[in-house]
Symmetry: C2
Subunit: 319 residues, 2 copies
């Protein structure tokens, strides 16, 4: 039996997840181990090698069946050359990941940033399967974006395309500063961090809200839970996050005319409360011709999207 | 001699321009005649046939040398099927232009919207030659957009990509309504129409400006001329047009990461006064990683871009 398999690595700051996929992008088996980022690139890349080889062996595949290996990595990458230019999560600068992993594993390795890879995963075997023009937004600590055109990641001139969290959507005088240095980026209001910031501000201002009695640090889930129980302050915060997300998606629609938007990441688990607000704002702020036939759906693969998409990086085109 | 030639038609509301191009996208010869839009689609398409055949004959080419024919048309098109769905300028609805012209001319005919075609022309033999990721903005009556990726027009899901004039960039409470129904679109401030509107408003409010003494209807050129002489009101208007244009380009850069922006159309002839303001605003509102290596240049082909790009539509890829 020589069924080809594809290996995807989702490299996070604390955990490395490795998955084996079949030719349809279905996960066959996964493994999760510590990143040990404090050990530096050498330790981390050693770990990746070890986890990958062990997973393939445990699944009783021959090494020859591995047709492609890919890794999704947070940070700013030189994709063409396979170099991690900077990664805040990993505290890396100029690490030639592709070259090192290829030496260790004896196979071609592709890398790409985590948001692009998650988008590719959803288009391969998740919520975007069968769609040609897809935009994914991952609403987590930040807001990541991935653009898939005809089954391929659209990277742009130097790989910086799809930085959708940095669309400036909050009016100048109402925005706060984003990590990128700009004011009013989408990420400042529609990420988990943004929601927590707005909630913390409200509590510190002394607004009457159930959020004031949450013990320990507030989470985005606390805000969604309170909003579902009718807490007006929590509702206002979620509406604001949804409003600006829908408005930014209107801008994306005017530029790219995608057929489908996929929302993933922790905040997307807010369900109807989030999606209803996003859809309403999107319809309101998008010219009819650009919103015609466009839908907005939740991601299907959850935390597996990164592994699946990374496994698919070696394919020139998904499907 | 059987050098292949390419025919491009630039169909406007009052004039039809036809150009012959060589394989490098250089214009060999052109012809211009009245559209006679009042005669309806039949008259207009008859005129196109006549002008095209006459131009090829006058230039002493054999009909067999015509390798491709394309037309750039203002309006909302079903590009894949070659149908003009609606065109305000021409007052057409559901006209199967491709089918009719192919019957008349006995050759395959491609159509696309005027802004996309102008962008393709600039990439073929104008300011975008040699660039893979180009965004063109045509600043005329409206603001048209064209996105060229790897030498091809990027059309999106139903051909509505690149509607860059409808990026909503003016804050809600300061915007005016756009023809598309939305508030605060780029087109409402950075088109000739937008500049004239702001100038007329200022004059009607009784602001002290040399524009008040312009006889007949104000033009965008009047506003630029006054601004160049230091008229504060005219300067404010041009700065506002440039400010929002640069800011909208920042959003485009974050989404698409192009290498080069090309500004064409009448307003782009405003020169340094416009370009300095646009570049300043673009740098200010774009994260460094997304603006790195990106330049902003004037179009080179002027009014010929439409003919050149239309002539290139038959090529799967320019260069």
């Amino acid at each position: 039996m020589s069924q080809p398999i594809y290996v995807g690595v989702d490299l996070g700051g604390t955990t490395i997840k490795v998955g084996l996929c079949d030719e349809q992008g279905r996960l066959i088996r996964t493994f999760e181990g510590p990143t040990e980022a404090e050990g530096g690139p050498e330790t981390v890349l050693d770990n990746i090698e070890r986890y990958v080889r062990q997973l393939v062996a445990d699944a009783s595949y021959a090494w020859e069946q591995v047709r492609g290996i890919g890794a999704g990595i947070p940070g700013f990458l030189d994709i063409a050359n396979g170099i991690v230019v900077t990664s805040g999560n990993l505290k890396w600068t100029n690490v030639p990941v592709k070259e090192i992993l290829e030496r260790k594993l004896g196979k071609t390795v592709h890398i790409n940033n985590d948001a692009n890879v998650a988008a590719l995963g959803e288009v391969w075997s998740g919520a975007g399967a069968g769609y040609d023009y897809v935009v994914c937004l991952t609403l987590g600590t930040g807001v990541g974006g991935g653009i898939i055109i005809n089954g391929k990641i659209y990277e742009g001139y130097i790989g910086m395309a799809g930085e959708l969290g940095h669309i400036q959507v909050v009016p100048d005088l109402e925005g706060v500063q984003c990590g990128c240095g700009q004011m009013g980026c989408l990420e400042t209001v529609s990420s988990a961090t943004g929601i927590i910031r707005m909630a913390t501000d409200a509590v510190e201002r002394g607004e009457r809200t159930a959020l004031a009695s949450v013990e320990g640090g507030l989470t985005a889930k606390d805000v969604f839970d309170a909003a579902k129980l009718g807490d007006e302050v929590a509702l206002r915060i979620i509406r604001r996050a949804a409003h600006y997300l829908g408005k930014a998606m209107g801008t994306i629609a005017v530029v790219l005319n995608p057929q489908r938007f996929i929302l993933g990441g922790g905040v997307s688990r807010g369900g109807d409360l989030l999606f209803d607000g996003v859809r309403e704002s999107f319809r309101k702020y998008t010219p009819e011709a650009s919103s015609r036939g466009v839908d907005i759906v939740p991601a299907l693969l959850g935390n597996d999207a990164g592994m699946v998409g990374a496994a698919g990086l070696c394919l020139k085109q998904i499907r």
